[in-house]
């Protein structure tokens, strides 16, 4: 019986008259990769901001490994489509940025940053400034910065949304590799149905007005996954189902 790492209990958020997120309950198992898919305005980013503690929900609780973390920060890793690397720090120093924001960076922190960077293909760029990197490389650095926070739960909000299709596929395979190595729990927001299926164990489908969860689907596709996965019948079947849910039965 796998343990539940994150539990949302009737968490909702309203901005004025707009229900950004209807009261939502959700459990995320330890070590799983859960994709949240939905069109803009479905409340997925609001959901993330509530989990991250940036937004206080109108009601309900956010529980991480048994302790309530509602509206408090510092408990999760967090990454956006914008890489948010700081231009005045090198790759190595950007990786340790999260640490630098809470305490003094030690030699061990730096050593870990270098080890992670070397392991995942950025070893030659440790002393580069972000301005010298491509979009895909910048997102890798941003992900490593998220990784070395040692948070069990990583919230990734459309991290590859700004990348071209080719780079995006490379990054997805790369992410799966890192996820497998590190055993973290990932919550991954995307509006790209293919991406949600390719990456996840489970797909949470959300819908707007009001933002809410409309389906919670298990993903039966086997791992490891590669380009071949995209052509499997199970992939196509799941895609049809998700598209149907998103577009109200037109698919």
């Amino acid at each position: 019986m796998p343990t539940t790492l994150l539990e949302l209990r009737e968490v909702g958020k309203t901005f004025g008259d707009t229900v950004a997120l209807a009261p939502t309950s959700l459990g995320i198992e330890e070590g799983s990769f859960v994709a949240i898919v939905g069109p803009s305005g479905c409340g997925k980013s609001t959901l993330f901001n509530v989990i991250a503690g940036l937004l206080a929900p109108d009601g309900g609780q956010v529980v991480l490994r048994g302790s309530t973390i509602t509206a408090t920060t510092g408990h999760v890793g967090y990454m956006l489509q914008k890489d948010l690397l700081v231009p005045w720090r090198t790759v190595e120093d950007n990786i340790t940025m999260a640490t630098r924001l809470t305490r003094r960076v030690t030699d061990e922190d730096r050593a870990e940053a270098r080890r992670v960077a070397r392991q995942y293909g950025l070893g030659e760029f440790l002393r580069h400034y972000p301005s010298a990197l491509s979009g895909g490389m910048r997102q890798r650095v941003a992900f490593m910065r998220t990784l070395v926070t040692h948070q069990e739960l990583l919230l990734l909000d459309e991290p590859f949304g700004a990348l071209d299709a080719q780079t995006r596929l490379e990054m997805q395979e790369w992410l799966l590799r890192v996820w497998k190595d590190t055993g973290r729990t990932v919550l991954f927001i995307t509006h790209d149905v293919d991406e949600s299926i390719f990456l996840s164990d489970r797909i949470v489908v959300m819908s707007p007005r009001p933002g809410r969860v409309v389906a919670d689907l298990a993903n039966p596709l086997s791992r490891p996954r590669g380009i071949h996965t995209l052509l499997e019948p199970d992939f196509i079947a799941l895609k049809a189902k998700v598209l149907g849910l998103l577009h109200g039965g037109d698919a």
Binding site: L84, V86, W88, L101, T102, A111, H128, Y129, T149
Partner: protein
Amino acid sequence: MRRRVLLNVGVPILSLLLVLGLWQLIVVGFHVASYIAPRPREAITSVTSQWSTLWPLILGTIRETIYGYVIGAVLGFALGVVMAKIAVIQRLIYPVILVSQAVPVIALAPVLVIILGFGIVPKIVIVTWIVFFPVTVNVLDGLGHVDPDLKNLARVYGASRWRTFVQIEVPASTTPLFSGLKIGAIYAVTGAIIGELAASEGNSLALYQEHANSNLNTAAVYGTTMVMTLIGIAWFLLVVGLEVWSTPWQRRSVARRRWRRGADGPAE
């Protein structure tokens, strides 16, 4: 590399030489009498021939400029930060600061001399008065435009306000900060000279020039003006140098080797 040096150093020097050339051309071409405008060479000689007299005066002006500038820069930065962080203080202080800059400094200078005497203090106050404003305005602007997502990210990581300020907000504001510092640098000497003029007593570069003027020594008037200008430019270039040194990421793609011990870790 050589090309860049030529572009960044050679061309600006050339443009200054062109100005001197134009000056020479006008004075000679229109037969301007030397009591109205000397030739560049005469102006320069008026300085070099009186160097032993001028040098202590130059040092005095430099001292006033440095003290006033450093105080103005620190004060300007602090005001910018406080105003950016506390809305009430911003509303409270902004009108006062605007009024302070709307007052013509020339009109203010004699008043400061009456209050603070003939020493270095009123000159420092005037330089500070001129320098802090562009720094404050730019720091306020810079801190107001830090990417809110970046600040949110710091919050998610559990960063304190202080660390967010030091690690994110200040470095993110370096470009506007240096804009303010550079504007301040070029005006700082003007402030010092206004202060010297207002004192109308003692030994100073401004009074030396006034003395030369009343003696119809036009060459020395021009020469002293050139000296004052050079102090301003030197100070400006020093600030530019500081900017270049402290913001390597704006020109380089790879960081310089670090001096910190152990920063590069064990060899592979």
